[in-house]
């Protein structure tokens, strides 16, 4: 029996060895090349366009020559209010992230550790709320915020953003907490910790990577938000970078200042791309924890 399996395995190995033709060896690599090209080519075009001189805006050369930072200077010129927009984005996305983590962590830990009736219902409710279309929240909230004079305030952007950020964070954190062995708290409690202490002193430090990943994912989601920020503001000084970029106006009438828009896009995107490059493994783990079991 054992020899038979060994025989089969050897045969299989032989078959496999015979099959590794050059085509088979190179196909995945070509595929990988295509994927990288697919993902990065448009992004590359944005970067290249940003570094052209405004006069060369419509040049389709693959490398910007002469190289110029003029577009970036234009973006940060005073009348755009772009710096302020970046700061606003940072305030809104940062507040959303912190609020979400503080509130969501407790819920996630509860969902990961406690057994109680209606747990499935709570999970279903949380995941369902993240599926609601943003506009059906924005329309009624817009009228409410007008009545209570919240238009053009940070809270008018932060509070509605919790609607998508909180389910996302709870979902990710639950997955992370669940991966930690329950024995950790038990050992802590044997040593005399209360459950709350066990959570604070043992689980939280160990869950730090998971919390950090969730923070990045939530921050990116909040940073990229557009509909709420667009609806709840009409003053430039309070608008987020995304809204400001979408409303850049050219110096010459109907012309779209694509050069400076691309430069602004690069400025807004680069921090995210750097974060993605640094923490890619964690982010992938976090994203897939939400979607895949």
């Amino acid at each position: 029996m054992a020899t038979a399996t060994a025989q089969v395995r050897a045969d299989a190995a032989k078959v496999r060895a015979a099959e590794v033709s050059p085509m088979r060896r190179w196909a995945p690599l070509i595929g990988v090349g295509l994927i990288v090209l697919y993902c990065l080519a448009p992004f590359y075009w944005m970067v290249v366009s940003a570094f052209r001189r405004p006069a060369d805006q419509f040049s389709n050369a693959l490398i910007p020559r002469p190289f110029s930072l003029q577009n970036f200077k234009d973006v940060f010129s005073a009348n755009n209010g772009f710096q302020r927009g970046l700061l606003n984005s940072l305030i809104v996305a940062g507040s959303v992230t912190i609020l979400t983590l503080v509130i969501g962590m407790i819920a996630a830990y509860t969902l990961a550790r406690l057994d109680f009736r209606g747990k499935n219902l709570v999970l279903a409710i949380i995941i369902t709320t993240s599926m609601f279309p943003g506009i059906s929240l924005v329309v009624p909230l817009l009228k409410l915020f007008i009545n209570i004079h919240w238009i053009n305030t940070y809270q008018a952007m932060i509070v509605p953003s919790l609607s998508f950020a909180l389910p996302l964070a709870v979902w990710n954190l639950t997955a992370f907490f669940r991966q930690m062995p329950q024995e950790l708290e038990q050992a802590a409690m044997v040593d005399g910790c209360t459950p709350a202490q066990a959570f604070r002193k043992v689980i939280l430090p160990l869950a730090a990577p998971g919390v950090f990943t969730t923070a990045i994912i939530t921050f990116i989601a909040a940073w990229n938000e557009f509909l709420i920020a667009l609806s709840m503001t009409n003053k430039k000084s309070i608008q987020t970078a995304n809204v400001i970029i979408s409303q850049f106006t050219g110096t010459t009438g109907r012309d779209q200042p694509f050069g400076s828009q691309m430069a602004a896009g690069v400025v807004v995107t680069i921090p995210l791309v750097i974060a993605v490059l640094l923490f890619q493994r964690r982010i992938v783990a976090g994203l897939t924890a939400g979607g895949v079991k």
């Binding site: 366009s49 509130i103 407790i106 747990k119 995941i127 599926m131 506009i135 691309m262 791309v273 895949v292």
Partner: protein, 350 residues
């Protein structure tokens, strides 16, 4: 001490296991309620409450108008279902059905394209051993770019004398009304989200044990057969969840057509844009009616998807009913999955 219990001692652990849930059940319900209340309260305030408010709002009309006696009426007036019936009438009706068609069209085309491309990407990444780190980093780039920025980027690419026309050798005015502006939205959306589906499917692929494929090979299954009979059924749970999220996401699409093509364009106006436009012009009643209709549409699609295809959205997070030691068993059952996932994550680090 339970952590270090050797395998041989396992039967002796039984009484301990039945004790554990007991301890966790003492007042757990109340504790859980207290701990969950902040989250549920916030979600209630920012999600459930607005939805109900929108429903109420959609039954009112605001603004100045004359009542039956010729008096000027200001503020909100109750109009019952008039906002809804108005939606389906005349020009508004045409605009609504057009937006509903666009929303559905974008959703179907985008999700189909993204799923096919995403699965293809996942298969390639699964096969590739070299360049995994590079491919994973680059696949996250479209995901990380804000939709607004990607919309502007594609608007730039699709300029009359932009790179798209140069490469294609065409002179299409992409941003004008017609099929081309629809196509530009679909291309931009697919570019941004197909890699994301690829990522989720890849995670699903990596949980399939290699033995299954070996067995198929020994049995002489063709590549296509292996794909349709093994790969697809086994990644189906991951794929269904990814597709469901993409469907719901595309049904509420707003940023991309709004920035890429612009407002008030018949070819790309979606239900979200229509509702936004009404609200922007302070016609809150009709806006709320549109928003409510979109909400119902999304809810029906989500419900049908989960019911018909059995997408298990809660998945592993689903709890066994408390008691009966089910929890201990469940925990053990999921442990290999988790370690497989962990292996996945480290495996990709090459």
């Amino acid at each position: 001490m339970t952590a270090t219990a050797p395998v041989a001692e396992r039967p002796a652990k039984e009484p301990k296991q039945s004790k554990r849930p007991q301890r966790f059940n003492e007042g757990t319900g109340r504790l859980a309620a207290i701990l969950l209340s902040p989250t549920l309260l916030v979600l209630g305030l920012v999600v459930v409450f607005p939805i109900i408010m929108a429903l109420r709002e959609s039954l009112f009309t605001s603004g100045t108008k004359l009542d039956a006696n010729g008096f000027i009426v200001k503020g909100s007036t109750f109009v019952g279902l008039q906002n809804y019936t108005d939606i389906f009438k005349g020009d508004t009706g045409h605009r609504f059905w057009n937006a509903a068609f666009n929303t559905t069209f974008f959703t179907v085309v985008c999700v189909v394209l993204e799923t096919i491309l995403g699965v293809a990407m996942a298969l390639i990444m699964h096969k590739a051993f070299k360049g995994r780190g590079v491919v994973r980093a680059s696949i996250l780039v479209p995901w990380a770019i804000p939709t607004v920025v990607s919309a502007l980027l594609w608007k730039w690419i699709f300029q009359a004398d932009g790179i798209a026309n140069t490469l294609l050798g065409t002179q299409i005015l992409w941003s004008t009304e017609g099929w081309q502006s629809k196509a530009s939205v679909i291309i931009a959306d697919t570019w941004k989200t197909a890699p994301f589906i690829g990522l989720l499917v890849l995670a699903g692929l990596q949980t399939i044990p290699a033995e299954v494929y070996e067995a198929a090979k020994v049995d002489g299954a063709s590549v296509w057969k292996t794909f349709t009979r093994i790969t697809l059924p086994l990644v189906k749970p991951a794929l269904l969840v990814a597709v469901l999220f993409r469907i719901l996401d595309t049904l509420r699409i707003f940023d991309l057509p709004f920035v890429l093509v612009g407002a008030h364009k018949d070819s790309v106006e979606t239900l979200s844009m229509l509702a936004y436009d009404e609200a922007f012009n302070t016609r809150y009643g009709p806006a709320a009616a549109y928003a409510t209709l979109l909400f119902i549409y999304v809810a029906v699609v989500a419900y049908a998807f989960v019911k018909i295809l059995g997408a298990d959205v809660i998945g592993e997070a689903r709890a066994k009913k408390p008691g009966g030691g089910g929890k201990a068993k469940k925990r053990r059952a999921t442990a290999p999955e988790i370690s497989a996932a962990a292996a996945t994550n480290t495996g990709m680090g090459a």
